[in-house]
Subunit: 232 residues, 2 copies
DNA sequence: GTCTATATGTAGATAGAC
DNA sequence: GTCTATCTACATATAGAC
């Protein structure tokens, strides 16, 4: 029953090379299937089939479906966090940052990995969307993503000392939702887009949306236009 | 295989009052269970149990799990759309609208129903989040929500004739994602909020975020602050 | 570590009595 | 329309041979 949210317990002996390769194939397959169909829609059998191994072997390495899901999410979380924090430090050392810059580091690392990091990272990015959407995985989210998110929220709080930290957190979560929608709801954008040849799902548009939204939440007055539109 | 996305075919005789009440209880139960656990996580048996009827009866009225899901989503879609459009017309007739006003009509109707409309509407709002997140339900989304969304996007396009319609659609979908996050990701906001006594998940904050985001996407330049923050 | 075989539960769907 | 009973498939998980 203990859902083992901490690091997986250390093995007594180092696993063989072959074992590690198998485990890696299983996690790759789980990543793909979980991303495609979600936790409940995925089956151990599908994962085993995609990995080219037997069903029992998935249990042996994964330790049950829930634990397998946890491992699959946790595997690449550190790398994603490291990339985000590294981008942040690089930008910080280059001079004073704007809110736009901070958002770009957090959102950009994710979007660029999903776009250019290969199919593994694309699948992982969609997996992250499942974790973020379902309260059932709140512990996994707290373990894998909240520390880095808090770091970025803290960075914004330092930049805007007069702003209410709770409002920063709210704007940040809305931004994460928009970030995930950029990846998972392209079909919806296309359906609502009257001009299918022009689909601005690019990173710059997303970052502009998030940064302006957070700025408005931190201090609504100067951003909201209650006047008539400029072209009317 | 024809997934019957059009209106359910007309019955030969009017159903009895008792039949209608049963059907209503089944849809209420389905709404709740689908909202709680998603399509794959929900079972016909759970729905039957919650409705207090037999399993076979759920199939009789629902016509299979997928069709039952479709009926459950479609049932309240018209009412939600009507409320949104009614709010829009009322606001329109009250004088010139701002982008903020248009967003408030679309988002506000949803949030107010979820908050004050009773448990049925709260469950329905979470059900809508599932539909919007999963490409598998793209046909249902196109049928139930896209017409109204297109109407609102068109309204913004009229207000900003020089704006790229594709960018308006993109900002709108990001806003819908934030709107759904307001309902489904309160746990995430609380987890990231350093001050748990103060949780600004209110409608005004959400609308401010969305309106500013859309405005920035339509025309990024004047909204993004690249200068140092005012309090530093 | 890996595979075969199996245990056990539950899923969606349906047939037929009332 | 409603209920009882059942069909068939597939789920997770595990035991034991190699």
């Amino acid at each position: 029953m203990n859902s083992q949210i901490t690091q997986p317990k250390q093995r007594q002996r180092a696993p063989s090379k072959r074992s590690l390769a198998t485990r890696s194939r299983i996690l790759d397959a789980a990543e793909q299937v979980f991303a495609d169909r979600g936790f409940d829609g995925a089956s151990i059998r599908d994962i085993a089939g995609l990995a080219g191994v037997q069903v029992g072997l998935v249990h042996h390495h994964g330790g049950g479906k829930e634990e397998l899901f946890h491992q699959t999410v946790a595997r690449r979380a550190d790398e994603l966090s490291a990339l985000r924090l590294q981008d942040l430090e690089k930008r910080k050392s280059a001079g004073p940052m704007s809110l736009h810059d901070v958002v770009e580091c957090f959102v950009g690392a994710y979007v660029r990995l999903a776009r250019d990091g290969g199919p593994h990272w694309l699948a992982y990015a969609r997996l992250v969307a499942h974790v973020s959407a379902d309260p059932r995985w709140r512990k996994i989210a707290a373990e894998c993503f909240d520390p880095t998110a808090s770091r970025f929220i803290g960075e914004i709080a330092v930049m805007y000392p007069a702003a209410d930290p709770a409002r920063i957190a709210t704007g940040f979560v809305y931004s994460v939702a928009a970030m995930l929608a950029n990846l998972t709801s392209a079909w919806r954008i296309n359906a609502l887009n009257p001009d299918p040849d022009n689909a601005p799902g690019d990173l710059d548009t997303l970052v502009a949306f998030c940064a302006a939204g957070i700025a408005a939440v931190i201090d609504p007055a100067p951003v909201i236009d209650t006047a008539a539109p400029r072209d009317a």
